[in-house]
Assembly symmetry: C2
Homo-oligomer: 526 residues x 2
């Protein structure tokens, strides 16, 4: 039996033109459930239903969206064991602590933070000019298409993750497109989302699910007039195809594409605490078998004896750690291809470098090395993202070369400096920091980039090609909500016709609004 | 002699591949000054200089950018008579009140508001999470290419207008591309901008000027790796070409493309004050010979006897008003073509409809009419922007038809409802407003859309194709600055390395920052 899709509140047979199955990455064997490859007919049905749901959602109190997000979080917790077990089968990510103690609580935490953000309402940045009689705020944009990645089956899942939570909290229905590597986890999450929609009484099409479409239908979907915007996390190739289609139609699309997250370790830091850095960096490199958006794919060092010892330490650690399982055959294949490309451009293999021929999807923990001079000759090739447990060390001969290397970096989600804590690296830091700053969304000191706190100050974003726009973040509330909104201005509109955030009275009593230049939680002064 | 271009602080000969002259719209005669059509060599020199200037600007205190903007405003005022006179010659816009009393003060006012915004610093929305050790704010993005429109030679000029002021205030150098219809006005403004740059001691390439490039070089310019972003106001055709080029390269581009700004006059309003509305709407339609981005290009009415009388009144006014001069031969030609397209689709001509064959660029005040039923058959053709003194009346038979019409509208900068002030139209308003709301950036009640106040709550923006992104405004400070910035996050960065807006101490004492969820002007609590 082919699994049904979720359209307009009902699980119904897809109008499919094929099917697919997911695979157990540990064994390489196909799982039993069969999922549909939807035709445009399914997309069209979802779009129409979402369009109608959006019309209804506009009149629903934000508090009820908050209730939905809270209820959904509770449902996920009630089904936690089953979800964790299925996510493990489909992704090979460890049940504990990764899925059960880290990712699932992060998922429900995000949903609850989103609930708080929508109930509070400050995300919409209401701006009131009483003298000019002009008031504006962000309003929901329309149905949001969410395409989630393979590497966080819960916390970035199309139907439960950060983009989903932000899109709903901003008042939009979501059309989720499952990631093909974990459809059963996604199905279970969609079941719980639907139960929460029903329990709160939201329009049935607030949450819909398709499993897979042809590329051309995906492009048509994100460009459809009924769509408000799209959020995509995944490979650069697919992302750029969707970007071109959406932008040609004038539709906003927020993409998280790829990032090698350079980590620059200055000499004083190696001198001061090289072994500790090597240890924590190895943890970060191999976390989730290296399949983090913020994996430190490139480690940049200045040549020297201590540097060679530091590299040796990294190599030992990479060799001695057991290697994890990769998410899919596609990830394993792509990782192998990327390593080949980087080696082909002139990097040497310090550790690993071969696929593990045991059953399932594995690759040896791999550490590559190239001189910065060689890097500069072909900086594009050496910035190939090797998604998985492979990392590249680049050794610069001097500071000029190091600076040139930074200047050649593409846009990244993160960039990190390790430096001596007593000041020995400060001049170097001051010289190099401005060059890195403009190329990364999040700049770190003295810690690896793999932790992405759900903080209002977080930027999980960055310059192209790490994302599609340098001004937005996918993680961190309430900022992530602003992607799924339009700026709506009211000029001379009669008071009784203003939306609640723009009325004289503060509708929640705690909404931050900018009134005549002052941020305030008060009512508009009479 | 071919006029020089402004590169890296010096007026120098262009590497040109042709020349052009502007025309006096009142006579149709070429003006004497000859301007260069730059080759890519000029673009490349400007880009390199801007890139270097940006590196320096990052270390300059925002207060000095404010000084520049203030000084520039003073220079403009000192040369006001000459600027107004030249702008009049090049655009035929009336010297008084339009240029001298309205547009020039608006221009200097914008520069001063931008100066205040950069000095205050709140625009960057510093967000501080003390518990997580994460802090973020907006930082300047890089050189901004500004391409200004023909219809505001001062207030939207590439080198003095709203986009220019916002780009500079956000900390970026500007490469201005003059509008070909008013190069001498632009040259004079650039002279004053350079004098202000020199007087304040900013990097010389903070402000640069090219006059014209080939289309392909324009596309290459906005996509260049050295560019931060582009701001464009102008025709939809050119804008979409630039949009495709910039977005393919992952470069943000903010566009203001076209808008017909529907005005819906409900029956009660006509009954209550039809003549007054007809008068103020005629003023708005013919203001600046209809060459406003927010010109009410489409007037939507419900069929009835009073509606027919209202239309007769509009027709009388359109016929009795003298017609103004259009900005250029191109505008006149395009206006004629648009009117032909709309008439060709089935509209009838109620007034005007012919070019005025006197010398210079003129068209009769033109009022067209079509039934909503006909409109719905070919809604695209009837939404052709007729930039100039021509407006289309659409008469709906009933409310269903009116709603269908609104649902077919493309994205617009503005949309307006006139309604009875004692409540007779309220049910109708409530039904129709949600449909219009999502299609316009600024929703008005009971006033025409042509006034665009420089208010923090303004949205001079709207859904595609009126602009390229529904979340940003080109007018209104400080919001307009946020287009030219990237979100820069600092994670675990040592306190002395944070940029001033993110330090514990409030750097200006009046910067609004969000500290642990609370907007505040205080220092971070110890």
């Amino acid at each position: 039996m082919v699994q049904p899709i979720l359209i307009d509140g009902r699980w119904q047979a897809a109008n499919d033109c094929g099917t697919f199955q997911a695979y157990n990455p540990q064994t390489g064997e196909a799982l039993t459930e069969v999922y549909p490859l939807s035709t445009w007919t399914d997309c069209d049905r979802a779009l129409s239903a979402a369009h109608d749901a959006f019309t209804l959602l506009r009149h629903i109190e934000p508090r009820r969206l908050g209730d939905f997000l809270e209820t959904f979080a509770e449902h996920i917790e009630q089904r936690a064991d089953e979800l964790v077990s299925m996510a493990h089968i489909e992704t090979a990510l460890p049940e504990s602590p990764r899925l059960a103690e880290v990712e699932l609580p992060r998922t429900t935490g995000q949903l609850r933070q989103a609930a708080a953000a929508t109930s509070d309402g400050s995300w919409a940045m209401p701006t009131i000019d009483t003298k000019a009689g002009i008031r504006s705020c962000l309003l929901p944009l329309g149905p949001i298409v969410v395409l989630g990645p393979n590497n966080f089956p819960l916390a970035f899942n199309s139907i439960s993750g950060g983009d989903f939570a932000a899109a709903i909290a901003a008042g939009n229905p979501v059309i989720a497109k499952a990631n093909s590597s974990h459809p059963a986890t996604t199905r279970m999450l969609a079941e719980e989302a639907l139960a929460a929609v029903q329990s709160v009484g939201l329009p049935p099409a607030t949450v819909q699910l398709l499993y897979r479409t042809a590329h051309e239908d995906g492009c048509r979907l994100v460009a459809d007039p009924r769509v408000g915007a799209t959020a995509y996390t995944g490979s650069r190739t697919s992302g750029l195809r969707l970007k071109a289609a959406a932008e040609k139609a004038g539709k906003p699309i927020y993409l998280e594409l790829s990032s090698i997250n350079p980590v620059i370790i200055l000499p004083g830091a190696i001198h001061q605490r090289g072994s500790r850095i090597a240890e924590s960096l190895t943890d970060s490199c191999l976390l989730g078998t290296g399949q983090f958006c913020t994996n430190p794919g490139m480690i940049v060092l200045l040549a020297g004896e201590a540097t060679e010892r530091f590299i040796d330490e990294l190599v030992d650690r990479f060799k001695s750690r057991p290697h994890g399982t990769l998410l899919s055959a596609g990830v394993a294949r792509s990782l192998g291809e990327s390593i080949l490309a980087i080696v082909g451009a002139g990097a040497s293999v310090l550790a690993g470098g071969r696929a593990d021929s045991n059953r399932g999807y594995h690759y040896e923990n791999t550490l590559l090395r190239v001189a910065a001079g060689r890097f500069l000759e072909n900086s594009r090739a050496f910035q190939t993202e090797a998604f998985g447990n492979a990392n590249l060390i680049v050794v610069a001969q001097d500071v000029d070369q190091l600076q040139q290397l930074i200047e050649r970096l593409e846009g990244n989600l993160t960039g990190c400096f390790y430096s001596d804590t007593s000041g020995a690296d400060d001049a170097l830091y001051d010289r190099l920091e401005p060059w890195l700053r403009g190329r990364v969304g999040r700049l770190l000191n003295d810690k690896p980039p793999t932790g992405v706190a759900v903080s209002p100050a977080m930027n999980h974003g960055g310059p192209f090609p790490s994302t599609g726009h340098p001004g937005f973040t996918a993680v961190g509330l309430p900022a992530a909500l602003r992607r799924f909104a339009m700026l709506a201005c009211y000029d001379n509109v009669r008071p009784e016709r203003l939306p609640p955030p723009l009325g004289d009275k503060n509708p929640t009593g705690r909404m931050w609004r900018q009134i005549d230049g002052t941020w305030s939680r008060d009512d508009v002064p009479a």
